[in-house]
Symmetry: D3
Subunit: 314 residues, 6 copies
């Protein structure tokens, strides 16, 4: 069969050359990063592993709603126990990876110390789960009461991206507090990718938090949010600028995001920047830009004149 056209498998890509060039670029990068060439390598935490872990924790937190569809109430505890056992071990491995990575330059950290530390963190998370469930119940209730379109708390739990984001956040925040910020960030980014809601795991958020629609919401690391707060899509609670020290480096650890008190509502597209205080019960109108404190109970809206101008142009 001599006249067959070229077999596609015969196509040559000069792979050896490309592979060598890629190795050379990696080598340059590693030298620039002053990384020793380790023969083995070092495993990092895995986004896919975290995704499975969060799915398991969701099911363990809400077994009859987010667990397996054929679960019966009689067997809830079996399911919860078995799922936690499996998921917490997976998490233990991920925590170890982050702690080992963080300790890579620290000779005082023995493997045994890392193991004990990792076990401590996972146990703490496990014991925090009942409280996390309570907080999420309050979020579900807030959504149900805050949205006239919601027909039942079950619908809220099944459908609302804001709830999905808060399940992730409340787990991520605990991981952040327990000292594994990389895992926390990975969990937060899972929610970000799925919902378009970007909450830094460091943000402190009280009970009964409701995010409606949600796409484009950004909440920064040092934000503090009270109870029963409601925000809409595209709301930003951000930082204005970073104070720098004498050398021009950003000073770490300073609160630089807003402090939002209880019962505040922030409408779609509003931007609140810097460590400002939004007083209890205040309301921030859509698309408003706020860089100063807002008094309790105040209602901030955009200047009327601009509205009129817009409409005047008809």
């Amino acid at each position: 069969m001599s006249d067959l056209t070229l077999d596609p498998r015969a196509a040559s890509f000069d792979l050896q050359h490309v592979v060598s060039e890629l190795a050379a670029v990696r080598q340059r990068w590693r030298e620039a990063q002053q990384r020793s060439t380790e023969p083995g390598g070092r495993e990092l935490p895995s986004r896919e592993a975290l995704s499975d872990i969060v799915k398991g924790l969701r099911g363990a937190l809400f077994p009859m709603r987010l667990g397996p569809s054929d679960l019966r109430q009689e067997s809830e505890d079996f399911y919860v126990g078995h799922t936690l056992d499996s998921v917490l071990h997976g998490l233990l491995h991920q925590v170890r990876l982050e702690l080992s990575y963080a300790a890579r330059h620290d000779a005082s950290q023995s493997e045994a110390k890392v193991d004990a530390h990792a076990l401590h963190i996972v146990r703490e998370l496990a014991h925090a789960l009942p409280h996390i469930r309570e907080l999420l119940d309050s979020d579900v209730t807030a959504a149900f009461e805050g949205d006239p379109a919601a027909r039942s708390v079950d619908e809220v739990l099944l459908c609302y991206p804001g709830i999905e984001a808060m399940i992730h956040h409340r787990l991520a925040h605990r991981l952040y507090a327990l000292g594994v910020p990389l895992l926390a960030r990975l969990v937060a980014e899972l929610a970000h990718a799925q919902t378009g809601i970007d909450i830094h795991p460091g943000a402190t958020i009280g009970a009964g938090f409701f995010i409606d629609h949600g796409t484009g919401v950004v909440i920064g690391e040092t934000a503090v949010i009270g109870q029963r707060v409601r925000v809409y899509q595209a709301v930003t609670l951000g930082a204005k600028s970073f104070p720098t020290d004498a050398d021009g480096h950003p000073v770490k650890g300073l609160p630089r995001h807003p402090h939002v008190h209880d019962d505040v509502v922030i409408y779609a597209g509003a931007t609140v920047l810097g460590r400002v205080t939004i007083g209890k019960g205040a309301s921030i109108g859509g698309n408003v830009w706020v860089t100063h404190d807002v008094a309790p109970g105040a209602q901030v809206t955009q200047a009327r004149s601009q509205r009129d101008e817009s409409v005047a142009m008809l």
Copy 2:
């Protein structure tokens, strides 16, 4: 081998305690929700099941473009028939689940009634599919003609998130109209998660609708949109406020979102709130905030002065 370090599998998480605490929280929640403790439980509609159903319907609607890659035109009808058979049965199960859930407190709903009702709904949806395909063809044409970058209608169908959102919406809207709002919402949220476009299944949208880019678009439940309308990313067609009755409860069923007439264009970031009317052929500029009616053919843009001010600050 006595000196082995602790087997990771020996790590104890005190699971029995955590499981009990979680059961206690669930119990409190159920009591607060006045839910009887049912031994069995009750299955709810499933997001994953809906996702598979929508994928099947997409393929049945556009077999040569969104069906299996090796499909031949000669066999289209076999594929369409087999896929519909499988997918509609899956949907029948989901519809039953929603109807049973909705009827959980209604003694007049026998299982047979629920079954008959579910079958009716799925049949109606099946018969609506040809019309839905026609509408989607008009959306594809609108995108192709509205975007100078589009090279072919096939590219539009394969790549454009706005089309993906409309495939979901036109199915979700029909489910909503047929009386299964929870399924409708789940379908809408599938599109929301994938595209960042959040269209309530209740929204009524005419033929030839084109959403460009799309991230951050929000369209509310009672919005009515005419034919050949075009919107860009981050456009909101929302509600201003909810009229309340004497007891302070929101009055349901009132139109509270915009009515957008034929041939309107709304540019990126514009916000239109309340039951205002945007007249035929009007154009709403980027980032404009509209809370009043707009006359047919009018062009609304932001106040010039603000623009100038901005630029004046260079």
Copy 3:
């Protein structure tokens, strides 16, 4: 067992009718599109296939970070070579599909020509990979240096949606330049769906580009961006309007999106429209709307007065 209730499998959907109606709609569409009825059909490039290809290329570009978790440095080249071999063949098939589709009305394109052209494109892409890796290294470094919260370059690579978007864009841009715009668009939309960042594959972006948060960012086809530029969420680099020729058709090929020079920062929600120039080192404030050139080093913010008005309304 005569008294069993109706077997759900006995439910009839009148499928034959629905299938026929759908066939009729497809027929009308094909006639409207003046498509001959081909007995076979024509395979189009596949989003799923592209997704697998991009995953493989990510792993080949960053084997120890985005490759398999158990990879050892000693075996990197085996992994990179094997992965490229597999992935580039998959890409070769997809490139062929796009080229064949594009050539469907062009009698001068023999199959052999298409094959040779496809092979050329894939080889070019393969040889561009080392340079793409260098550019991505500069993006990672920019993110690490630009975000005080970043703890390591590894964290940036694992977590930041802006990096994910740039991995896709730098591949998509090369595919676009090599003449397969549909594949390029599919790659771009994969990133768009995952990150909410919508960069047209035609956009030219220099080294060290950093997108923070990212949801809602839109960058148009003819945008040109220099080195070390930083943008935040919801920034739009768009077109103002399309110049039309004598017949009212948009004139193609004209630059219609901004040219952003080196070291510019554009804050969240800012909109820059048209072929304006943003000079080296300029800074565009949040939510600002820019339709004119901005001088090098200038700082554009919104009119102070509006801010004050907003706050004055407390």
Copy 4:
């Protein structure tokens, strides 16, 4: 691109014709079987479903050896409970299918009766599991003690096809006794396919049964086997012939396979046919053909002469 060779997708198989012919054959078969043409059809038990159910039961019976590899002893009960819950529900569905099928011509069987019957069967099986585990422990011990090559009971459980066959048989036998012979047969055939050991689920087998190697073993429906019996590969415990009634039909329900008493050993390739009795402690040599009773303690071997003849032919 007019000169492209024929697209493989354009190949026509004249499918409509084949489909019609196949429908005609099915129709003829159904008429020959006097089956009414039901619009719906009737679901039968599924081999794949049974396979998953048996896998689950294996894990629940031996959680630390055949359950998930990361299971910890502390969590065994959670795992066992959750697995049983899931698997027994799957089994309930399969039992229902068999009972409904069996009742298809029996007007006295209401759906409620079938449901209650199915639930009874699954409950009985569930309560039999501890006893089944005890029997299997005795089989494992017998294999460990009977095979000098066995290094540990764990190795026996992991590797020995005879144990795999007995796990299936002890479950299948119970299903058979509970009145679901089709499910029982499916379970037996799963073992047959995997191990080449073909034990009819009706066979009654005492504790401590050991099958070595196993390929080709066949044990018939009415065989009765005592305790501590050992058989090797290719042993048949079969029927000689079927007694027929006046009309020439086989008489059902008569014992027609061997009764093997305690402590018997049957070597490879031996064939024992009919309702013969093999007395306690007897030994049947390799390839021997037995159709008469064997006394307790007897040792049956092939005629010496044949052996010698064979060797004499050298």
Copy 5:
């Protein structure tokens, strides 16, 4: 963390050396086989692909029993048509691979010829399917009537390994007859692995063939079997020896396996060797060794004396 034990990922296997040695062995083999070193390679038919194809054909032949569990009779033709379309295209690819492989040294075979030949073969197979279904119906009936334990034809179809083997054989035999012996062999080996029944695809087998138990059955290439024949486990229909030509090479194409006429029964373990004739209605006893013709209606059993001797040894 300097005292960590060796990272398992750091284990070195001296891979480069092993890879080189393996390449050297391959090279020696290829030289010994006088294979040119082709840059591309040549794809062979795939066992996995054939497995999927056979699964699809099983479903298309018996849609309500071996097709998807939720299939309804109303939609059978859609399922059958869609499945055949998909499966026959897969087969077309495999047929092409075998024909191309067979033609690798034949300059007269153009690619177009191979394509046309492959299409012809697949079409022929497609048109043979109704007849294959009829033959399989006769096999199912034979098993149902031949086994007193069989409760229904459905049980036979679901459970009996002999039926599974015949589904594979009747397809394999047709492929063999159509000139793709490698594909035929792969199909036969799929059944062999699953059932322990080894039927050469060349064997000619009439309607109503029933294999009981089946493990260890071997039927050779030139065997011819009439109608309504029944065989039990471990029956061999083999060749005695290969006639050789003047050079000592086996003479191909001569019938060398038994010809078994209608209504013969061959009991377990019997061996029939060479081109002997077993006359209509004959019966061959268990473990009997036959190398001569057997007259119609004869009953062959083992010499009585040996039996007696065996038992006499008690």
Copy 6:
């Protein structure tokens, strides 16, 4: 909806009781086995893991035939290296599990020793792969030359169960020799389940070994087989009896299976028992039973008289 029939999910299985009973049986077993109740448990090697490892090694040994179907010869080494890297690490984990299990009562075995030992074993296996490939090439050649029906060496490699068994055996034998008999046994049982060929990993088999058909072949642990030996289905190379020591325990380590010299052929169903010697070039006829030495070149067949008797009974 009060009159709904019982939700199947409400079916109660009294699970808590079953779970407790199963726990009690496990406890009794552990006490009988004198196993301490460990809180963690101990992971054993996994059949599934071994199955994946063997699949990978098959591909690495025969990349163009048993590797991925799209592999090109140019990239063989990349594929082989990457596959070995992944598979050998998986094997390292399994070897560690077996060694740890074996050392569970041995205080002299530190974890570090176990790790070093495991690494040594895997390295040795890796370096043995080229030799294993050479042996397998000789087996393929033997099958091709020994079976007149074989059309090419590629067909032999793809289809013949005897080759599949030998790929497993040659790997298993090496693992056995390296001191991990449990892994070796698991690999052997994978082949046994798939092919019905049961070769103990301890058996020593020379080059050019060919097993035809194969179902029912059993080859014992201390069997020694020379070069170019051929066996057919259902051949047993077994032990006669176990010599026992003064206490009646089997004496371990004595050769108890046949020694088969070069160029021997053993036909179907033959049984050779004990440490007998089958001389070079001998031939053992079908179904013959051999318990004495056979001289070189001898041809052993069954006594003629029995044959004649059988036929005489017609």
